[in-house]
Symmetry: C2
């Protein structure tokens, strides 16, 4: 048995017990995009032919340590990948992760289209 509640005009609506998978997935992806440094990193990786870790921290107005953490977060959400090349590490966008990101947000954006005829 679900907990339900009545909304405005007598319709019944299921009360969320917890947030849904879907909502948590969107929120996690949004969180990784919620810092300008991480946006800058994605844009940098998309626009340069090389992608050595050190180049990224030289480019950003942040310490190497801090950039390393941002890279770790982007990697943990699958948006970038890092391939070891001797002593250096080459970072680049992860095709699958970026596609996933686009599709998840695409679905959300379709879902939240305001109705033209709504009385509000």
């Amino acid at each position: 048995m679900f907990a339900t509640l009545e909304i405005g005009n007598g319709e019944l609506m299921k009360k969320l017990e917890l947030f849904e998978e879907n909502q948590q997935e969107i929120a996690s992806l949004a969180k990784v995009l919620s810092h300008p440094a991480r946006i800058a990193i994605l844009q940098f990786l998309a626009s340069t032919p090389t992608c050595i870790s050190g180049d990224i921290s030289d480019y950003l107005p942040l310490s190497r340590t801090t950039v390393s953490q941002h890279l770790k977060e982007l990697k943990s959400m699958g948006l970038i990948q890092g391939d070891v090349e001797g002593l250096k590490i080459k970072y680049c966008l992860n095709k699958e992760g970026i596609e996933k990101l686009k599709s998840v947000f695409g679905d959300l954006f379709e879902e939240i289209t305001p109705l033209e005829n709504k009385i509000c």
Copy 2:
């Protein structure tokens, strides 16, 4: 005179002094989407004909006070609007804000398309 730095193959790249407007705007919009409650609110508003504040807090597994704060954040980023109707407040999606959101993310997603032929 810009600070510059050499990347990989001898190209010069401008060092960011601060994060750019563009990057900060994307990050702020992403931040407002970075909590499952706020995603749930947007979906709820898109899917119900009415949108009284109290209905939203009844629906979510959070206290009324907490929901009120999330509504405030969504409103401050222009994604929703709240119209006073006597004692109640009717919330709904803000067409302009939602369109802005879609266009900003659309631009980002176009920008960060991984190249098919990149050696990485």
